[in-house]
């Protein structure tokens, strides 16, 4: 037990180190001079050189990396070259918006995928084909295109939902922060106007963000379910007199769901990459849109922090998935007090 924990911790650290090194090197290899961004296009070359010196950009890469990583670990994530803001502060302020969006997208993706995949594998035939098509289309649809289409149809066309303008209508006060989720905080505060507005503004971007992970999950769940359906124990359960539908829900879905937990990291990755585009389109004040600005302005510190944070979350998701699997899969569960006699 202790040993597997140590091994896991080791692999987590190695993954994070590699991610930090690779992203650091790549960012420094792209053309352009961040010192120029800082001083502006009209400043003299001397001024640029002075800033380069000051930022440590002339130091050898390993030295730069070492300085960066030690500062990062001590909570100093640097500041934005373009506007001087402290990166850690910016990210902390924008994180809840992204988390709320991603959380709702995740919920939508999981619930929709479970329903679609279960019906598709239970009914097979036409449903199976439709679900396969949906999955292929969903996986191939760029979230920004889908985001735009949703706006055009549901906001501009039907006028059912608010347009792409952030988390809350301008005239509404954000609820006092408890969780950072506007919907939940508004409920805590008993502010139902804010709640319904926040929820209405979440629906379209969350759906746009949910499509790729949802389609991925549909494909995975359909494949898992059709494999489990071949297992002899399904015939044995049916031989007890249990109906096909109950057998499917109780045994097939349960068995098909377990291996799906292992792909938590991949799901998270689709949510992170998707959020960058979706946030930009919906003017969502989260980290994704910050990244787009950061890239445009060659803000090393912002981009680097985003990448490191993503890597950290990815590793965390995988770790959590492992632990969850050990909890819910009896074959992996470690019994308290060891193996029973």
């Amino acid at each position: 037990m202790l040993r597997s924990m140590m091994e896991r911790l080791g692999s987590v650290i190695i993954t994070l180190l590699l991610a930090s090194i690779v992203s650091f090197v790549i960012l420094r290899a792209v053309p352009g001079d961040p010192a120029r961004t800082v001083v502006g296009p009209l400043a003299s070359d001397d001024a640029v050189a002075a800033v380069r010196q000051q930022l440590g950009l002339d130091d050898p890469l390993p030295v730069q990396y070492w300085n960066y990583i030690t500062q990062f670990l001590s909570g100093d994530w640097g500041y934005s070259y373009s506007n001087g803001a402290d990166v850690a502060t910016v990210i902390a302020a924008r994180m809840p918006a992204t988390l709320e969006l991603a959380f709702f997208a995740f919920l939508i993706a999981v619930i929709a995928a479970l329903v679609i995949a279960t019906v598709a594998s239970y009914r097979r035939g036409v449903f199976g084909i439709v679900s396969k098509l949906l999955a292929i289309i969903g996986l191939g649809t760029p979230p920004f295109w889908l985001g735009l289409m949703l706006i055009i149809v549901f906001s501009l066309g039907l006028g059912l939902l608010p347009g792409p303008s952030g988390r809350l209508a301008g005239f509404l006060e954000p609820p006092p922060q408890i969780t950072g989720f506007y919907t939940i905080d508004a409920l805590f505060a008993g502010d139902f106007t804010a709640f319904s507005d926040a929820l209405a503004r979440l629906i379209l971007p969350a759906c746009a963000l949910a499509v790729v992970p949802g389609a991925f999950l549909v494909r995975l769940l359909v494949a898992n379910q059709s494999e489990v359906m071949q297992a002899p124990f399904v015939t044995v359960v049916r031989a007890k007199g249990v109906s096909r539908w109950i057998t499917h829900l109780r045994h097939v879905v349960h068995n098909a769901l377990l291996p799906t937990i292992g792909s938590a990291g991949v799901i998270l990755a689709t949510l992170i990459t998707g959020s960058v585009m979706v946030e930009t389109i919906y003017d969502w004040p989260g980290i994704g849109s910050t990244l787009v600005n950061g890239i445009q302005r060659q803000d090393f510190a912002v981009v680097q922090a985003f990448i490191l944070l993503s890597a950290f979350l990815y590793v965390l998701a995988n770790l959590a998935a492992d632990l969850l699997l050990e909890l819910v899969d009896p074959r992996l569960r470690v019994r308290a007090g060891g193996v029973r006699a």
């Binding site: 002899p232 124990f233 015939t235 044995v236 049916r238 031989a239 007199g241 249990v242 068995n255 029973r340």
Partner: protein, 340 residues
């Protein structure tokens, strides 16, 4: 219930997978409490008959002709509701591989309870639990109360097969179908499980259809044996007659391929030369003709159904059944000696 009523009555059953007919007219009658064995080479259709009776054929499989009655009640295989009420109650199934036959993520207690609850919706949790413990005790699982919360991977192969037997007898069915129940177990465990099954069905008066490759097991456990070849029952005979009254060349060949003591000592095994015809292309007449050294011309024209001994329900599908049987009688003495 009429005492003369058959536990299982299969009349002229035909089953196809897609366009291919793999069960080509099978009749099986099983008396209450009777134990019959079905033997035959791989692909002869043993499992298909078993699953057909359960109404659990794989996708693409369907019954195209014939009728099946269980415990005197004709089964309508279109009526899923009635089928669900019948499965596990009138007829139950024990499968070959005890590990893959249990859901790996549900506890043993849960899986036994499922078999009970479904047919006894009024039973309380407590009663179901007690019944599950009672069943586990009956199949010889030690510490049954403690083992209810365990999962299949925590059981040994033999214990898992005992659990499957417990599930199969949970509702005192009229018929228990066991498809190679011991093939996946080691020899010692095999014998123990067969012994257990034997004593249980004896006590509960359950009729058994035992599908197996092992004529030795049949000889020990069954009352009657049915030999299947290419989707037909080519001979049925009482077990005590199988060695010296076999009337079908295929039965005789199967017996010949049994490892006798002398052959085992020399490490030689006889196989039936050739292989069964593909089910897409079964010859007219006797399907065994291409491999049969008794074959005569009319064999490949039309099949022959012979009643060898009506009293003993001995039938054989062979034009030369009488001659074959005469030869068996001669050879039988030696063989019985070899297997005694």
């Amino acid at each position: 219930m009429n005492a003369e009523q058959l536990a299982l009555d299969i009349q002229h059953l035909k089953i196809s997978y897609g366009p291919v007919e793999v069960i080509r007219g099978v009749d099986i009658q099983v008396q209450p409490g009777e134990k019959i064995g079905i033997v035959g080479e791989s692909g002869s259709g043993k499992s298909t008959v078993a699953l057909g009776v359960m109404g659990l054929l794989a996708e693409g499989g369907r019954i195209t002709d014939g009728s099946i009655s269980i415990a005197g009640k004709p089964v309508n295989y279109e009526d899923e509701k009635r089928l669900n009420a019948m499965r596990g109650k009138d007829v139950s199934l024990v499968f070959q591989d005890p590990l893959s036959s249990l859901d790996p993520v549900k506890s043993i207690g849960n899986q036994i309870a499922e078999a009970i609850r479904w047919h006894n919706p009024r039973m309380s949790r407590r009663e179901i639990r007690d019944r599950a413990i009672q069943l586990l005790t009956a199949v010889g699982v030690p510490d049954p109360a403690g083992k209810l919360s365990q999962y299949p991977h925590e059981y040994s192969g033999g214990m898992r097969q005992r659990v499957l037997i417990a599930i199969a007898i949970a509702n005192d069915p009229a018929v228990l179908i066991a498809d190679e129940p011991t093939t996946a177990l080691d020899v010692t465990t095999q014998a123990q499980v067969m012994e257990l099954l034997d004593s249980l069905v004896e006590r509960l008066g359950i009729a058994v259809v035992l599908v197996t490759h092992d004529i030795g097991v049949v000889a020990e456990f069954c009352d009657r044996v049915l030999v299947m070849y290419s989707g037909r029952v080519v001979e049925q005979v009482r077990v005590e007659d199988i060695f010296d009254r076999a009337a079908h060349p295929y039965t005789a060949a199967l017996l010949d391929s049994l490892p006798s003591r002398a052959a085992e000592a020399h490490g030689e095994l006889k196989w039936i030369p050739g292989s069964p015809p593909p089910m897409t292309d079964v010859p007219p007449g006797c399907a065994f003709a291409p491999r049969c050294h008794w074959a005569v011309e009319e064999c490949s024209v039309q099949p022959a159904a012979r009643v060898i001994d009506a009293q003993k329900l001995h039938t054989a599908e062979c034009h030369r059944a009488e001659e074959v049987q005469a030869a068996s009688r001669q050879a039988g003495g030696e063989k019985e000696a070899a297997h005694a």
